[in-house]
């Protein structure tokens, strides 16, 4: 029963929470740049307006690929908040991400194609850390099952600090925030030409936007999973940590310049290897010693 409430709450609330997060994101970013910034509800106004516009697209095939992207991403969240296998969640997420790539590359538009190829590189950069995070949870708790992981005695971050660092690092890539936003911009008029979304307009762009909200809420849930334990108070702590992490992402976004994909790949893999890898080594040694 509890599970269904969580799932329904995710389906209904995730876009609202995600949209609010984006609104706050834009507000804080604006303040960091000494601008007033748009109202916090601006993302919702944008999406509503996008839905009202005439659908203009380079190819008709795009919208079904984007809808698939949206649905698979919602499924990812449902699986996660429903408490199933975390590795499976990420496998479905990567399938969803592949559909986003298809939706962009199908247009054969030069800017969209470059953006989508860079998105592929971004995917390659973050995937090892994501899989390793799942391995970390498994090592710490002996299960891949999200609801069992959430019932641990102690917050898992106590065992998994390295995995947490690696995950937060690749979160910047996953959320396409500077300095790792190569896939969304490579043009001086960034507001007009945004890499992977170049050829998405009207309803299609709105779907993309909503999917992003779902995705962010899912990713924040994973961050929370590092904190949550059997004690209900930990949920409040988890929310606080999620907010701090999100603020950190905004701060990084606004204080760093975009790097080239080579550097992004090298950095993310190095951080994954040394942070998560060393954590993995220590955990395995400790477990072997304990057993």
């Amino acid at each position: 029963m509890n599970m269904f409430i969580r799932i329904i709450a995710y389906i209904l609330l995730a876009p609202i929470v995600g949209g609010l997060l984006e609104g706050i994101d834009r507000k804080i970013s604006a303040r960091m740049q000494r601008r007033v910034g748009p109202p916090i509800l601006q993302p919702f106004y944008d999406v509503i307006k996008l839905f009202k516009k005439q659908v203009i697209s380079v190819t008709t095939g795009q919208s079904f690929l984007l809808i698939t992207y949206l649905i698979l991403m919602i499924v990812t969240g449902i699986m996660f908040y429903g408490g199933t296998d975390i590795l499976m969640c990420f496998f479905v997420m990567s399938t969803a991400a592949t559909f986003l790539y298809f939706a962009s590359v199908v247009s054969s538009s030069p800017y969209a194609t470059i953006g989508s190829h860079r998105e592929l590189i971004q995917m390659m950069s973050y995937e090892p850390a994501v899989l390793l995070a799942c391995v970390g949870f498994y090592l710490a708790t002996g299960t891949f099952n999200v609801s069992e992981i959430a019932q641990s005695q102690i917050s898992n971050i106590a065992y998994l600090p390295g995995f947490f660092v690696a995950f937060v690092f690749i979160l910047t890539i996953k959320m396409r925030k500077s300095p790792f936003d190569t896939s969304t911009s490579h043009h001086m008029h960034q507001e007009l030409v945004k890499g992977i979304t170049t050829e998405m307009g009207a309803q299609n762009l709105a779907i993309f936007q909503i999917t992003e909200w779902y995705e962010n809420v899912f990713l924040m849930g994973v961050i929370g999973l590092f904190i949550v334990n059997s004690n209900p108070i930990s949920i409040a702590v988890a929310v606080a940590v999620v907010l701090v992490t999100y603020f950190l992402e905004i701060l990084i976004d606004n204080t760093s310049a975009r790097v080239k994909y080579e550097l992004m790949l090298k950095m993310s893999w190095m951080v994954t290897l040394f942070s998560a890898g060393v954590n993995l080594l220590v955990l395995m040694l400790v477990q072997r010693g304990g057993a």
Binding site: S63, F64, D85, M124, V135
Partner: protein, 638 residues
Amino acid sequence: MMIIPFLILFPFVVAALMFAIRPNKIRNGVAYVSAAVIIGAVIYLAVSWLLAGAQVQTYFVDTHIADKVILAAEVILMLVVTFLCFKHRKYWISLLTIIPTCMMVYLELYGPKTESFSHIYIDHLSILMCLIVGIIGGLIIVYAVGYMHGYHHHHTDIPDRRYYFFMLLFLFLGAMFGFVLSENLLWIDFFWELTSICSFLLIGYTKEQVAVTNSFRALWMNLLGGTALAVGIMYFAYTGQNYSLHELVRAGVEGNVFAVIPVALIAFAALTKAAQLPFSTWLIGAMVAPTPSSALLHSATMVKAGIYVLFRLAPAMQGNLTGYMIALIGGFTFFVTSVIAIAQSDGKKVLAFSTISNLGLMVACAGVGRPETIWAGVFLMIFHAISKSLLFQDVGATENSLHSRDVEDMHGLLYLLPKLAIFMFIGIVGMFLAPFGMLIAKWSALKAAVDSSNIILVIFICFGSATTSFYWSKWLGKIISHSHMTGEPFKDITKKNEMISLSIHAALMILLCVLFPLLSKVYVSPLLMEMFGTATDVLPAGVLYTLVAVIVLVFAVPVFSYLFSRNVKTNVKLSYMNGINVGDNKSFTDSFGDPKRLWLSNYYFHKMIGQRKLMVPVQLIATATLLVMMIMIIGGAI
């Protein structure tokens, strides 16, 4: 069970017929019928065995005549290879066939006499191998009839020796059946050598300089493995007083010291056959041969023989140094070759590297040697056999129509050659996208690697899965992108028989995706039961249901969203080109004000991770690892 000798001998008879019948039409007819008979025979074997209760069965205890025939055939093989080595002045390679053959002859005539045992052994694994070899191999022959016709039509400079080509294909199938059904190590050695030599002859089919060079590379690498196999068999014959494969595995499981060295040597031999680093180059070189032979080598036969042996040995490798070595080499190969695959734009080369990479994952699964990894490995093997055979045939057919097999030229293939593009899509998606082959394999391999504290393997799998997704996704993207080709449309000249084979493969692939939970329950779990003696539920029910749900979703969602979005009114406009569009999406205005063709290309990073740059260093690393670990294993056991 007379079907078993029939299954082994029939392809040899057909091979002789293929060589004897010179008119193409008659030979093609015989080839079709024989392929159908082989497919029918394996299905009959599998069904009758399953209906009989799917028990382990052994046959043929007294085989004096067969032993002598095999001995004679082995000597003949040695003479043929030695002759070819001298003809092409690769004298030293002949040693690799003379030495093991002499050892086998000596063993057969003067070796320790043991109590008699069955020579044929049937269980879930061997039946599964028979099904793969028979069905995929048979379909490849059907495809080959059409393909080779077109091949010699286009390549008039290559002498038409189709009688020889088809002889080799059938010989290959016969050898594979013999290999997977035999229990006697001496027989296994013979069939092993036969597959090595068949692949050598197939690779050299065109007689071009590069083909000859590559064929000899394949020969020496595989014969080196064969030599290790022969040494292992001889050692076991004297120390264990036995020639039975299952006795060897049993001795290994029981922890007998005398089994350590043979298991390590045979596992080493399997690495050469499965084209693991440092022996990967022979399989890459094998693509100079006509496509059907690559399909056969990569999917159904040659490389799967190595995997089969490793699966057989897996219980004896669990948790010891040999298993660690195999898992390490497999994981390393999985990661490194998937990186090199990114840098390839030749479709066949991508397939070749991905084969090696996937084999690496299977090898790693076998090396860990736990029930769940064998479960994953078996599924990976089935998925891979179908998918790779489909993809090779498809790339071959695409090359005939498109006059190129470069992935870059496949831009917009969905609109140029829709049927072939869809088959290609199915083949690729079946291999890596959730929830298919790779995914379940990754899931259980990761779990088992963590359970067995194999940290290096965990890291290889995590990184390798990222690179694997990369090279497949970018190929898929190429296929579905809107075409920027101009000029004459391409004509699909794929022959009917090629289409039949492709369609059956695609249907099998989809069927497998849908039915795999059933297959797991009915077939693969009993297989593990036989192998490990314990029933383990590899996939927890929760995961299984999730998987089934995901399977349904991944099929259903695109269909429904397609139906949903079909009626959305879309105003189709030109793509964004900074305002310098020419009027279509195929060109833009250049700095002289003239229209310039638009050409979109993928990332390859040739200079960073090309084959030339990476291959030699990783071969050295793998060789060093293998050498050190083999010395440790052998030194520890003496």
